[in-house]
Point group: C3
Chain length 656, copies 3
């Protein structure tokens, strides 16, 4: 299914019918509306204006389109902020209030704001919750975007103290848990607790982790209440979803955040993300991805978004159709890439891809952000590519195919991510990058992956990649112990107890020693431009960034450092890596584990990736040049075909 | 005419007479005094002390010197700040008050400060406005230096709201103009308006442009009142001028700011500017300019300063005579450069060059800033070079020559500059740099340029270079349509309406399609280290940073992108560039237009530049090595001569 | 003597006896305790709890250990901050209060805090000041760490005004001294004075220097009171010391700060310091020092710490035993380096080296900081190296050897350091780096150095290196005039009067012209990546960063710039360098002076250093590879020996 994001309030009413007709004619089924429209839906406190919205809905539905409605809560109007200025969040780094004038100017700990957000949401759900043209709802927009998960407002501090009461019971237990004796940081009562920012030098990592968990809980709590108020009023068959930013940037436990949803959605902007993520590349290196995005970044988030909810499905709620406006540099997509990105999402399990936005807005912050139409209503560059997708979809209804269940799982641990921020120890240590590095190595071997969370049931996986399971998680450990899958466990796993202390008996703690029978006696971190050696399986690789010295208490040493000491330990189905390393090693290691586990591999040319959905296999070429089509001889092609897979093109064939 | 900046209040009274005598003996005619002297002229609120100032004036005038007096308003004294702390400006980026302790610590929106500035200026003008030794007045000092055009004080916000009332009439019109519906940013009344800083993410570009225009208006308004109060009291033959910082750094419409002046002045510090502007060069590349400055930076500002007022004349009010103190690194000028810079200013139309300062101050912030004298009153390194200038001027009174009127004009658009800051879209897009790039290309061809503003009468120009005319300007468009000159119009021209929205029918809007018969269907921006191809006139160049895809609706495509699509469009007398490009292209293109227009060219050796004033032609060698003198055989030399133009030297000859 | 830092309050009481026994068994003699323990010693205002501390002391003493007690004043408890929030310091750069949650959250100008710090110190000194197990006291911890010397709190401003009254007497004298007339910065009363931060642009360097001196005085005053209150109560044979951070980072006059102490101590973290100090090196260059530290950084601070007090002895109060946690990257020490660093400290005059810390804390901010024990109480990597040191010390009691008195002195001037910060003039000018550059050049020649302050008696030195004696110091000048030593005086010496103005008659002023018979007529500063030539003694070197043009009024020109003008001037026993230069020049120059003065040299292989203490000579190899042992044939080795000095190893022999 394809769709589009539409803002009727931005356009004269006389355009709506034509727009609706053209959407339908293009082959779109779904329109998302109502996002950011609070100041039009409620122009004055308590005075609602639904006439225009009713008319817009009527127009779209009449044209045969299905609607996704949004709560407009990412943009509280000025009158609400002026009446309750303490809705505004406060920046942890500067202590400055983050003001009105753009979006997301609210604090998740503001009780006033939660009340107001629930109110406007309830009003909308009551009014449109049974509307036959509506199929679902989106909560808010891009929660936590612009680093809004954390705030140090008075409301946040108050809520944090209450959260601490709840978690620790007594102040003595909190002091003990955090080790506050260390620098006479002991509190005598919960009312003395401060936020872990603005001190003379670094604050206690346990304090910071608590604040991160609290902040995540606040977002989850806020969102759960929003979903609940919608469900109270909407038809049971209406879905509720949320359009996520990249999972690594929310600062929140995305699994918990998505829990009350029917499925998660993702806003997919490959070029803006590439410009940011690949900024360290030279111009020559970067140019190959400038108009395509990196071949793994989108796929990684697709896989994670799909796996956030048990339904194992997802939507792309916003898909980049041309240049955007918000990255430092904003190139045009190469011809063919909008089609490719669309199919790539579908191949990874997307039920619907909605383009953002219908028509390029000629005003305000995003006027340089392309739409399907130019501001003058002429079709923009992505249009023919969407027409192509519509044609191709006609013979290939992916929504009837089962959600893919991969044989390889990559485990993402939100608390490992937070620990990486809070106690980096080595400036080059970046859990987010490690995730992508492991994912890329697997994808270069032609593997499909699921992204699982620590407490996901691992049944059915043949290989489980665990870049870092940093803190205590008994459920995860017992599953990893019990699984028959090959497990690859990365360094820093079990490094800390739940309260961010070193485990008794040293790391890995929390039961992880059953997996990795070592004691981490010492850790060193290196500059990214310095490396040492890693010997494994007859090859020589590099040991980089994070290096653990371990005492081996079981299993077998299969890889060693430059001095012969243990760096890779095999213990039954588990391999423990005591160091970060390089791409060549990761590919070789994952290949070995897959071979053992009977998972088929296919070493792919650079920038070519495979993805299976149901009995359909896709191949995507992110490169500019053609490659030999990586399909078996005599493949039954559903999309494309022939001996060459051209640059920026894809093929799909039915598996025998 | 030559002059010097002098601060009698910095020196014992017994030195004044000797100083005056030495100034006169050196050949100086003019002395600027009174800048920054408020705390001595009015040591207590309302208690004036003119005795010392009278004596200083008397001493200087008696020695035969003419005086330029200043309003001391760049440095309000402590007692005034303590009485009215809300005079202080507030930093838009941090929200912090910018305090007392240096200079420029006042807000252009402070009504109290304007009143006080007018009061002290009136008092001075009344007292000295008819003094026979005085020839003119300088307002304030380096307006807007240290990023002081913008402030977000309470006074500024209040004034901004009033400015919005004036401009937009109703809040609905403001909301519509800015597109505030976009993120529910709508205001219900003018009293709800905020400054466009400190929000969670980027604010509305229309809002930012309004604030920029408002801030420019505030400075212009403040300055207009200052000029008016002076003119109320001074003799009609006294001129009023202001010493500008480089035009690109004021953040203000310099044409409007200069409008009430008799002529504009410039403070010329080639080495400090080069150290800042060329910081990205390697050490080897930079070294060639380290002691000379860049050969075009000064000239560019000279040409702009001259053209700010209809009089087409200007002064250098401060000329660097040795190392300064305020750049990251402060080299000594190469021997000969003070002479060269002086003549270069004169060649560009300067009536007077005043050196800053007479004697190096041994105390306070600028004690490492050279003067004509060392702190021990011995002549410093520039002294013999000024003696040389004096000798050379004796036979060549430039002030009798007409102000030069160039045949090539470069159009500078303040609003294009602001748009470049507000909606950069590509981090490498820098309107200020584009101006310099175009200027340099023309100068390398031996061309003289005028710097015109969008509403300058273009009569008499053969070639008009318009790097970017970004926003609506009907007068400019009609002149560009009507002119018989060749016009080169750069990308992003007509990109926005006056309220920073995309024009109906796409860019170029605002009537510019009559010049550039294209529709900009899409824009992409590239990293500065990535480029694509540009084919034109048989040559291959590069397309960089800003690239427009256009549909051609008239004219002829004369240049194409790497894919054959239109990149250069010729339409009668106008050539439209849809992309930024490189130096080689700019030189070739400008050369072609000049050849068509019958403007003579002379391709110059690197770092050599020509400048004509009246019937005198100058050649300047910024390089360290000698070059063949770029004069015709048998030239009638007025300065220098011979077959070789040495490094850091100049020649001048009378045109036949 | 060896010792260790111990925090009994971090561990269960049942561990204490075992810990004490193991310390003793390892060969440690000294234990430092009580640092940071305020919240346990006084859990509520005025309610003390000494029971646990008594027990800990008893346990340690019983085991035969001697104790150093600390005032816990670096970490005021929360109840004290809540009762007196104005104890907190205010950041000069941001104006933000620096809050509770880590350490050093107090303002040296807070009278309340000084009172409280003296109170808790007096209580401790009264209780334990005659304890037979105690041998000495440490004041506070790492004074001024985390940039805490400067604060702009209300208390600091108030105290600064009083300090100005004291120093200047009348406001007119202050205005004159600072040259406040310059930008109308004149004050009418001391109550108008502001802090020199937060102004629109740079503040007056005289104002900034005054604030720096004031801030230094505040720290010195605070510390003097702390030492006095201890001495009031403790036994006369108890020493009082303080554990300094690197001298270059305190922002304080370390000589004055150390004056009331019996001796100074240093906290030695070679790897963390190297990671910070060598960040500009490439990975390949850095790797050689990654696990050793730079061969001169520690030695430089050792020499300075030893020379801070007339006793010419010092302690290492904290010695890195493994990876630390606070640098951007934290490598492990190479095997052998803990032993090497320990002996290196002893060779430089240390009486005791205490390792930080006994057992790695598994909680709070420093849980990734190694100890002698791992968190699980097993011996960590440094343990066998300390055992080796203990064995080696058995036959070589360094404490009986005289403090070394070097024949070469390097003069460190705190005010030159502050001037370097306040009026950098060239961004590449860094007095701290210059000190290290000169020190390194001398050490590469096998020289031992003392670090002297400007008013140190120079008797006994054969060569005195003075990188910069920037401001007026009559005592220093007369000693430098009178000495028979060769003196090498660096550029910028005598550059300013005591109030940071250019001296009458130009630099060098303050009597320094008797040493350097030149007039500095002009200064230029260059980018670090640009250099010019320096000719001297038949060789060609580089002139860099800071270049003075001088008129020579005496002595002999022995070195010249690229244009033949004077760059090196020899005047009897003094050589004046008018420019900064390179390592090769510095080595050649120092070698020449030493040869003249009869000081023996030994050009050492890279990364090898010598150090003599008493009649014992040490050689240290910071490199990874062995070198020919730099000992005379037939040396009487006390440690190690043989023809090769291995990498990361040392030897010591008795001098004949």
């Amino acid at each position: 299914m394809l769709g589009v994001c539409y803002y009727p309030e931005h356009w004269p009413q006389e355009l709506w019918a034509t727009d609706a007709h053209r959407m339908k004619a293009l082959g779109l089924s779904v329109v998302r509306i109502g996002e950011f429209a609070w100041s039009r839906l409620e122009p004055e406190p308590g005075r609602y204006d639904f006439a225009w919205f009713d008319a817009a809905i009527e127009t779209l539905v009449t044209a045969g389109l299905k609607l996704v409605l949004c709560t407009p809560t990412a943009t509280p109007p000025k009158w609400l902020i002026d009446a309750h200025p303490d809705i505004l969040p406060v920046d942890p780094l500067t202590g400055h209030v983050r003001g009105f004038g753009s979006r997301r100017h609210y604090d998740f700990s503001s009780e006033v704001y939660l009340r107001e957000a629930l109110r406007i949401s309830a009003v909308l759900a009551q009014r449109y919750g049974k509307h036959p043209g509506v199929i679902g709802w989106q909560t808010d927009n891009e929660l936590c975007c612009h680093d809004t998960a954390l705030s140090i407002s008075a409301a946040a501090l108050q809520a944090f103290r209450a959260w601490c009461v709840e978690r620790y019971g007594t102040i003595d237990q909190l002091n003990a848990a955090w080790g506050n004796v260390f620098w006479s940081m002991e509190y005598r009562s919960f009312g003395e607790i401060e936020v872990p920012f603005g001190a003379v030098t670094e604050t206690n990592p346990a304090h910071r982790m608590a604040y991160q968990r609290f902040s995540s809980d606040q977002v989850v709590h806020w969102h759960r209440a929003m979903v609940a108020v919608l469900r109270e009023h909407i038809a049971p068959h209406h879905f509720v979803t949320h359009n996520f930013i990249p999972m690594q940037e929310t600062g929140v436990n995305n699994f918990e955040l998505a829990a009350p949803l029917d499925f998660a959605s993702y806003d997919n902007y490959p070029l803006g993300r590439a410009d940011l993520a690949l900024a360290a590349l030279s111009g020559d290196e970067f140019k190959q991805y400038m108009r395509t995005g990196h071949p793994d970044f989108q796929a990684f988030v697709f896989d994670q978004t799909r796996c956030l909810t048990p339904a194992r499905r997802f939507w792309i709620m916003e898909q980049q159709p041309g240049p955007v406006n918000w990255a430092p540099h904003n190139a045009r997509p190469a011809t063919g890439m909008v089609r490719l990105w669309t199919w790539e999402a579908i191949a990874h399990g997307a039920d619907c891809v909605c383009y953002f936005r219908w028509r390029q807005a000629p005003f305000a912050q995003e006027q340089m952000h392309a739409g399907l139409l130019r501001p003058d209503s002429v079709a923009a560059s992505a249009w023919p590519e969407i027409e192509a997708v519509v044609r191709e979809m006609a013979g290939l209804d992916m929504t009837t195919l089962p959600s893919p269940h991969a044989r390889v799982a990559l485990m993402v641990d939100p608390e490992a991510e937070w620990l990486s921020d809070i106690e980096r120890q080595g400036a080059g240590y970046d859990y987010r990058q490690i995730l992508l590095d492991w994912y890329r190595a697997a994808r270069e071997l032609g593997l499909d992956l699921d992204i699982v969370q620590p407490d996901t049931d691992l049944t059915g996986y043949a290989v489980v990649l665990v870049p870092c399971l940093a803190l205590s998680n008994a459920a995860a450990v017992s599953r990893l112990v019990a699984t028959t899958a090959r497990v690859l466990l990365g360094p820093r796993s079990g490094a800390k107890t739940v309260e961010v202390t070193i485990p008794d008996g040293l790391a890995p703690g929390n039961g992880l020693r059953a997996l990795a029978p070592v004691q981490v006696t010492s850790v060193e971190t290196l500059r990214p431009d310095v490396s040492e050696l890693l010997h494994w399986n007859g090859g020589t690789y590099t040991s980089r960034v994070w290096r653990e010295a371990v005492e081996v208490v079981g299993g077998e040493v299969t890889g060693t450092y430059e001095d012969g000491s243990a760096a890779v330990i095999r213990n039954a189905h588990v391999t423990y890596l005591a160091t970060l390393t390089d791409d060549a090693f990761m590919r070789a290691m994952i290949a070995q584990l897959c071979t053992e586990a009977g998972v088929a591999l296919q070493r792919l040319p650079p920038n070519v990736r495979l993805r299976q959905r149901g009995d359909v296999m896709f191949a995507f070429n992110y490169g500019a040049s053609g490659v030999v089509t990586p399909a078996p001889a005599g493949a039954d092609f559903l999309i494309g075909g022939g001996p060459t897979l051209e640059g920026h093109d894809l093929v799909a064939w039915r598996l025998a």
